[in-house]
């Protein structure tokens, strides 16, 4: 399978990437790791006329402590986040989840900016970021703006990012190793996307693949904050969800998984 043809532009800086986006408008797409975009292009489900390569923007590849947050550059690859000592010490949930994406070869290519912007509700890293209340830093011709991840996703493959903006950084609170966390990913094959996944940290619970976007288990969070037991709180994890049915699982089964995985993730988080 070969994608249809396009023009390839290598961006040497964020400014170059942004001016190429402005110049080519709707025709253009950024490419980072290409591990979501190229499969779509091979199937001709995406047919961009211009690809703007941002993978070599190595100044956007970092994981560092910045005040009481950890800042992660948009082109940081999954394996770099997985093996970063800063991430392991300060946001172990995120380091762990980055290590669950696909397989080693996929983690060598895919980036945090790519997986966040791609907006697939079956993604692992965005689920962890939603539970962590991450902030996303977008840059456009008018400068930078900060978007709370809870406000970022509009629907399946849809975000609030403007066509002439790109993500440059992801910021999460520095939690250290004393805050408990749990991540439960249900798959049928080791290197797959989750059928359902649940991230729990610090009283917050986020779920993959339970709606058109990654979502918080609000009813569970409310129950927890009003003192409910883990069992009781987890029982409402599927409230308000609208999972799809597909060859892997039907909607009822996904809701069952959401309750079960939430219970397990909360227990793991509580036992830390």
């Amino acid at each position: 399978m070969i994608p249809s043809n396009f023009e390839f532009v290598r961006a040497g800086s964020v400014d170059e990437a942004l001016s190429a986006l402005t110049e080519h408008g709707d025709e253009a797409k950024l490419i980072a790791g290409g591990h979501s975009l190229l499969p779509l292009m091979k199937l001709r489900l995406a047919v961009p006329g211009v690809l703007i390569d941002v993978a070599r923007l190595t100044d956007l590849s970092y994981v560092k402590v910045d005040g009481d947050e950890v800042a992660i550059g948009a082109t940081t690859r999954h394996f770099e986040l997985n093996t970063s000592q800063v991430a392991k010490d300060e946001v172990p949930l995120l380091a762990h989840v980055a290590g669950l994406v696909g397989d080693p070869q996929v983690r060598h290519r895919g980036t945090i900016g790519g997986t966040v912007a791609h907006a697939d509700s079956a993604s692992d890293v965005p689920t962890a970021l939603l539970a962590l209340d991450a902030k996303l830093i977008a840059q456009g011709p008018k400068g930078k703006r900060e978007i709370a991840i809870a406000d970022f996703y509009l629907g399946f493959f849809e975000t609030v990012l403007e066509p002439d903006e790109m993500l440059v950084e992801v910021r999460v609170p520095k939690l250290g190793s004393s805050v408990g966390w749990g991540y439960e990913k249900f798959v049928r094959r080791e290197n797959d996307w989750p059928i359902v996944a649940v991230a729990a940290v610090d009283g917050k619970v986020a779920m993959a693949n339970m709606a058109g976007t990654v979502i918080r288990a609000s009813a569970t969070e409310q129950a927890l904050s009003s003192g409910a037991s883990i069992e009781d709180a987890a029982a409402s994890a599927a409230e308000g969800t609208s999972p799809s049915s597909d060859m892997h699982a039907d909607a009822d089964y996904r809701q069952h998984l959401a309750r079960l995985l939430t219970k397990r993730a909360l227990h793991t988080a509580a036992s830390a």
Binding site: N5, F6, F8, L38, K42, D103, P104, R109
Partner: protein, 166 residues
């Protein structure tokens, strides 16, 4: 567009279509046919090569994305004296292949695995090779081969000319 890269130690520049996949570049343009295309959907790992020290599935990388990189394929593993690299040598001695279709990708993925983890356990080998499928399902001997290759030490996780032979 022009792409320049170093393939198995030799630098070259070629005029390619932007949409040319790295695996097709290696097979059709450079003429190195060891790297196989199995699934063409990033699932099977048959097309695994090493780009700038990292294993990647070359069916999901554009040649244009590898511009300026160092690429190593199975053909790049034997030393100048023809000595086998410890990993293919161990696949040979442990019978880590049946039809051999997955083998080039398995070998490259195993080198990446041993680079990150020179002394893996049986389980770590199985997890480290999760991105590579063997349709003959000869996994036990593949795992044995990787464990055997690890006995060669650092050379097993290194590409390029190697004087060690397992």
């Amino acid at each position: 567009m022009q792409v320049s890269m170093t393939v198995n130690g030799q630098s070259r520049t070629d005029d390619v279509e932007p949409r040319l996949l790295l695996v097709h570049y290696l097979r059709e343009v450079v003429g190195l046919r060891a790297t196989n295309i199995g699934c063409d959907t990033t699932s099977c790992g048959a097309c695994t090569v090493i780009v700038d020290g990292l294993t990647v599935k070359s069916c999901t990388v554009l040649a244009a994305q590898a511009d300026g990189s160092e690429v190593t394929t199975l053909e790049g593993l034997s030393g100048k004296d023809g000595a086998m690299h410890p990993v293919p040598a161990a696949f040979h001695s442990e019978h880590g292949l049946q039809c051999g279709f997955c083998t080039p990708g398995m070998v490259m993925a195993s080198i990446g695995l041993l680079k990150d983890n020179p002394h893996p356990t049986d389980r770590e080998v199985r997890e480290g090779l999760e991105g590579n499928l063997c349709r003959c399902t000869g996994y036990h001997n593949i795992v044995k081969a990787v464990l055997k290759a690890a006995e060669a030490g650092a050379a097993a996780g290194t590409v390029g000319a190697s004087e060690v032979s397992a």
